[in-house]
Every structure is written in C-alpha cells, then in structure tokens.
Amino acid sequence: MQAVKYARASSVDEAVTLLRDGGDTARVLAGGTDVIVQARERRRHIELFVDIKHIPELTSLTHEGDGGLTVGAATPLYRIYGDTEVVRRFPALAESTHVIGGKAVQGRASLGGNLANASPAADSIPAMIVLAGVARVAGPGGAREVPVAEFCSGPGRNVLQPGEFITSIHFPPPAAGSGQAWERFIPRNEMDIAVVNAATYLAFDGDVVTEARFALGAVAATPLSVPAAAAAVIGRRLTDETIAAAAEAARQTATPISDMRGTVRQRKHLVGVLTEHVIRRAVERARA
C-alpha cells in the first residue's frame, strides 16, 4: 500500500474540512472495497483516507413519511437488501445490492461507493437511475443535489468537484401500483461483473403506462438512462409489440464494446433480452 494517512470524521462538516485540507490526494473511505484496492494497486494516488462511517447520517437508512427513502452514502449493502420495506417497496434496489460481490464485500460496500466509483458495469446504478435517485453531495461550496442519472461522466469518473463527497442517496416514493425490476447477465451464478445489467420502473393508469424509466449497465462509458425505451411504452398498453419496441429502443441506445466479458453482438442481444425480462417482471410486481 502507498503511504496513506487515516482520519476519522464525526460530522459532515469535519469531513469537508479534512478533505479540503487534504487536497487532491484526499479521498473519503466508506466500505473501501474499491478504493482500498485502487490505492494498493496504485491506480489512484491517495495520501489521506477520511473515514465517513462514523458520521451517523452517512450510515442511516430512513423510510420517510411520504414513502420516500434516503440511504446514507456509506450504509453497507447488507442493510439495504436486508430491509424488509426496501425489499417490498424498492425491489430493484434490493435485487441489485444483493449480488454485488460476496457476503464479505456486502458487509462493507455502499451505494455511495458504487456510485462514486462510476464503473460502467456498476450493478446498483441502473437501479438507482430508474428509481429517480438523487445524490446529495457535501463539499467546500456547500450542499447540492445531483440526479444519479447525471452523476457518472466516464469510466471511473464522476461530476464531483474537488473536496466534494456523497452524503446520501434519496429516492422519491414509487407510485401506487407501479412496478420495478433489475436484472443482470453473468456467465457464473454469482460473484461476477455484469456482462449487461438492466432496470426498469413502470407506473400505470389501469393498463396504460403513465411513467417509465429504463437504465442499462456495461453497454456504454457510463451507466445509461434510456429515454427512448420509455418513450416506446408511455401512453401505451404493454403488449408483445410495445415490449419489443422498448427492447429495440434499448438495443439502439446501447454502445457496448467487446472485451473479455462479452462481444458487442452478445451485449446488444442481451440488452434486448434483459429489457424484456425486467418489463415483464415489473408488470408482475405492479399487478401483485
């Protein structure tokens, strides 16, 4: 490991000060499952870790009176998918966090970390996008909000300014009678990085789709919101034809590369398959 120093912040303000004083080579430390490896392998130059896990609001999980959900940026994944209300009301979030890494990683890894790390294949980000998640950010210039859909700017890059860090992710209440689902394809059964992942959120008036969001992972430089797929179903009933149209719109939006995990052709195919899957599963949930 490169020579890092460790500081423990007990409040957001203290973390802001520590990060400002630490300059470019200071980083927040939540679960450390990405950033400790990056420091060890010298993929990121880090001289100071500011541990944010002892700031109570950073490890909270709060169901709000209006049905919204706020998850502290450093709240470990096991507490998210282990929360019965999250499983019932935000199943796409539960599904995506349940399969990130193994159990030992899930004891530490966080939504804030998965988002800040900005991997194109990050499993939780498409789920957060379709749930209209908003990242609450603190920094030397004060607090601000960034929609998850606009947070990642490239592989491993995000829109955070120097000294800024995520404090929580907020999700508005899902509409009554809405449905949502998240799914990924990997060649193993578990413990793998997505070849493709996909998520959807669908709200209805009777059988007619009134609101739709789609997102994809591992098929572009960042996790991708897919408004063209939403446009294919909004105002329509979900039939085999409209579902196929959404899947085709998702295929058109995806710009994958070929790498060790899959080819362009395979990924394009999977985008269609997974988009259909998540629509059908979201519909089942909406009707349940």
Binding site: M1, Q2, A3, V4, K5, Y6, A7, R8, L18, L29, G31, G32, T33, I36, V37, R40, E41, F49, D51, K53, P76, Y78, G101, G102, K103, A104, V105, G107, R108, N189, E190, M191
Partner: protein, 163 residues
C-alpha cells in the same frame, strides 16, 4: 482522530480480549493481524476482495480483512479463526470440515470456516443452494466445493440438534 506520523496506536477487541497495538496507517487489518499480532490464521490470497481467505468478523459482520484498514478497527470488535475453537474443543464446523475432508491444502479453510459460521448465525437451516450462494465469496482450488458444502450442512444439522 488524526495523527501526523505514519505510526498509529490502535485499541481494539480481538476474540473478546482487549488488544492495543502499534500499526502503520497504511496497514490493512490483515497485515496488522498477521505481521503485528502474529495471528496468522487469516490468509492473504488475492488481496483484493475476491477470494475470502482473509475473512474475519468486524463488529459482527463478515468482512475481508484485506479490505479494511487496521486504523478502522479502533474501538471495534474483531473476531478471527483463532477464537473459533473453545480451548481444545473444536467448533462443530471445524469438526465437520475434518470429518468430511473439506480441505486439502488448507489455505482457504480459515476463511471458509469464518464465512460458514457467519452464515449459520444468520440462517441456522440453510439449503444447499443458500450455502453455495453465501460461500460464493470464498474460493477453494482443491476440493471442488462439494465436501465443503456437505460439511457446512452436516455442522448445521448437528448444531440444530444440540440446541
């Protein structure tokens, strides 16, 4: 808590005993356990969170000790494989691993035992599928996993009978 020097004094609890030790701020918990405290049960396999050979419990949660900084365990409770047996009496999981020959070279075994114990604490009657899913973060290149899964299911049965 900030220090300007690289050395850091850490006060923690390991396997129920208060422990104070001097570490480097760059040390992982795994390095501190093995090199500062001579507790070599947790093993270094991949050093990046894939293999689970370094699994320990941190405040009651299973973690990869290679992905924890030693400085993070200030004031925390750490449980390691060294605290698993009760004196000369093996934990039922350890006994079942021996009886089912659930190890060959043994490097992964402390991690599998810690992970399996965490599983049975949360789910005392796991199915075979649940055991396999839970243990997916622990890699074994010798056994092919079947013997390990059998041992965990056997230990679960014995522990439930003893309850």
């Amino acid at each position: 808590m900030t220090t300007t020097d690289d050395a850091i004094l850490i006060r923690t609890t390991i396997n129920g005993d208060p422990v104070t030790f001097l570490s480097s701020q760059r040390d992982s918990l795994l390095e501190a356990l093995r090199e500062r405290l001579n507790m070599t049960g947790a093993k270094e396999g991949c050093n990046n969170g894939n293999c689970g050979a370094c699994s320990v419990m941190l405040d009651g949660r299973l973690v990869n000790s290679c992905l924890v900084l030693a400085a993070e365990v200030e004031g925390a409770h750490v449980d390691t494989i060294e605290g698993m047996a009760d004196g000369e009496t093996l934990h039922p999981l350890q006994q079942a691993f021996l009886e089912e020959a659930a190890l060959q070279c043994g490097i992964c075994t402390p991690g599998f035992l810690m992970s399996s114990r965490a599983l049975l604490a949360e789910n005392p009657t796991p199915t075979e599928e649940e055991v396999r899913f839970w243990l997916a973060g622990n890699l074994c290149r010798c056994t092919g996993y079947d013997k390990i899964v059998r041992a965990v299911l056997k230990a679960a049965g014995e522990m439930n009978e003893a309850r």
